[in-house]
Amino acid sequence: MSWLQKLLPPKIKSKPQGAKSVPEGLWSKCSACEAVLYRTDLDNNLDVCPKCGHHNAISARKRLDYLLDQEARFEIGAEVQPVDFLKFKDSKRYPERLTAAKEDTGEDDALVVMQGSILSLPVVVCAFEFKFIGGSMGSVVGERFTRGAKVAIEQNVPFICVAASGGARMQEGLTSLMQMAKTSAILTKLAEARLPFISILTDPTMGGVSASFAFLGDIVMAEPGALIGFAGPRVIEQTVRETLPEGFQRAEFLLEKGAIDMIVDRRHMRQRIASAITLLMRQPAVSGSA
């Protein structure tokens, strides 16, 4: 029985006129194919539309939850918190933006780092929270990333980063630009230790994040349809004064141009990461239960 047959008739029968009786968030419309989906089905499918395969944006915690085994997860770098050292003020003050982002996401900055395992392989994984000021990279993101990589080196385990970011955080001025240098620099130590860095690019990966560690992966993966690039499409359009080709800066375009190794469906991500890690580290294959 399909999800539609299972769910539609009883709802319609029991409360024919009561739109209000349907709990909030039970249904979800796919932003790509506009199919109406039952929330539970979407959840069970890792937020990938079962109809068209569109990969919906997910939070950093959800990402880590989808990637890591249930047991033995430890968060790294949560003690590192943002400060407004420039007293930055545009239409809003920076602390106000931080507070609003925290209320919105439950996070105190745009990167969550965890030690755990994928199919029983020990790893350290970072995930960007795009809803936290556009997943922008400032001091806290740089420091948490660095601490995560250091733990990976100490524990002799692979390091993985799932990017979703608009770039550097303007509210921290040049210090945020220097996070590009810092995050790239720590990867030289990971390389010295011959530990894999797997970089996973999701929608969107732009600017300072794209132009630092994101493409320094020993293996670079991307989710289908993800927008990935240095300059934003609007900036490029204004510069070259022409409309951009269809699919420009999408994962499929990058694969064609030779910029990434592979496009990986979120539903296969755990197995593909495990496979890449075991192959690189010359370890036996893991049995492939998701």
Partner: protein
């Protein structure tokens, strides 16, 4: 060459205009007005000094972009001998927005690499307004590796609005090219001295700016985003650029205070373009000192200090969790 004056320099421009007129009169006049001219020149100097004493960050960013400001090739000509320019990334093409090559500095071999802007319209287009494409960064990396192979110190000059935002640049991996340089420069086994001479525009600047000593000319700027870009994103109006320049903290003195640059090189009164020779003298002295300082250290010490410097970037607080 006739000096181009910026908006805020208009009072100086008027005075200089008057001096010019008097000189013209002097040529076919029996009366000696050289005293008067001398007096006005002194006044113009003082006026320049007083205006430059209190420049706003936005005004400084105008000076950093001054059309007559010395560019990388001007400094190469003034500082080095036997410059052998090297071309191409060996993969796609040669990017004229980044120049570099081998040269002698006080007789010693160095590798110099810098962004290059154009002076007239034709050269501006040829140099792509100093905005590099991936092949520029790859050429730079190739030259750095060559320097490393032969134990030659690297001197870089930073002066770009930013990496070029174009279709081809994206297709050929602008992001990867920049990221790769950050990674490789971290562990490049020769001394690297970075000088921001004009505009330090974001990732496009940083891609040749990882080093052991980072110095800035007094009226150079270094920023995560241009004031205009920042204003149009955060204020939704490019007109707020002066406010953005203020709050972003892009000037040499501010960045020195924050510990992001090591040294600020004082410019001649009215900016480097008013007296390029004096600027070159200052720069020569400073590069000599920097080289001396770095060459006294072992390469391991150098790399460790470079790494620790990179790790030290960032301001945050640490709180107890749980």
């Amino acid at each position: 060459m006739k000096t181009t004056f910026l908006d805020f320099e208009q009072p100086i421009a008027e005075l200089e205009g008057k001096i010019e007129q008097l000189r013209f009169v002097q040529d076919d006049s029996a009366v000696d007005i050289s005293v008067e001219i001398g007096h006005l020149q002194k006044k113009s100097q003082e006026l320049t000094k007083s205006i430059y004493a209190k420049l706003t960050p936005w005004q400084i960013s105008q000076v950093a972009r001054h059309p007559q400001r010395p560019y990388t090739l001007d400094y190469i000509k003034g500082l080095f001998s036997d410059f052998e320019e090297l071309h191409g990334d060996r993969a796609f093409s040669d990017d004229p927005a980044i120049v570099g090559g081998l040269a002698r500095f006080n007789g010693q071999t160095i590798m110099v690499i810098g962004h290059q802007k154009g002076r007239d319209t034709k050269e501006k287009i040829f140099r792509n307004f100093g905005m590099p494409r991936p092949e520029g960064y790859r050429k730079a990396l190739r030259m750095m590796r060559l320097a490393e192979k032969f134990g030659i110190p690297v001197l870089t000059f930073v002066d770009t609005t930013g990496a070029y935002p174009g279709v081809g640049a994206e297709e050929r991996g602008q992001s990867e090219a920049i990221g790769r340089n950050l990674f490789e420069m971290t562990r490049l086994k020769v001394p690297v001295i970075v000088t921001v001479i004009g505009e330090g525009g974001s990732g496009g600047a940083l891609a040749i700016a990882i080093g052991d000593i980072v110095q800035m000319l007094q009226y150079a700027t270094y920023s995560v985003i241009s004031p205009e870009g920042c204003a149009s994103i955060l204020w939704k109006s490019a007109e707020k650029a002066p406010e953005a320049a203020e709050t972003l903290g892009i000037t040499a003195t501010r960045l020195k205070t924050m510990g992001l640059v090591d040294k600020v090189l004082t410019e001649p009164c009215g900016g480097a373009h008013r007296d390029p020779q004096a600027m070159i003298t200052t720069l020569r002295k400073s590069l000599q000192d920097a080289l001396k300082q770095l060459q006294d250290k072992s390469i391991d010490e150098l790399l460790e200090a470079r790494f620790e410097r990179l790790m030290g970037y960032g301001k945050f607080k640490e709180v107890a969790i749980g």
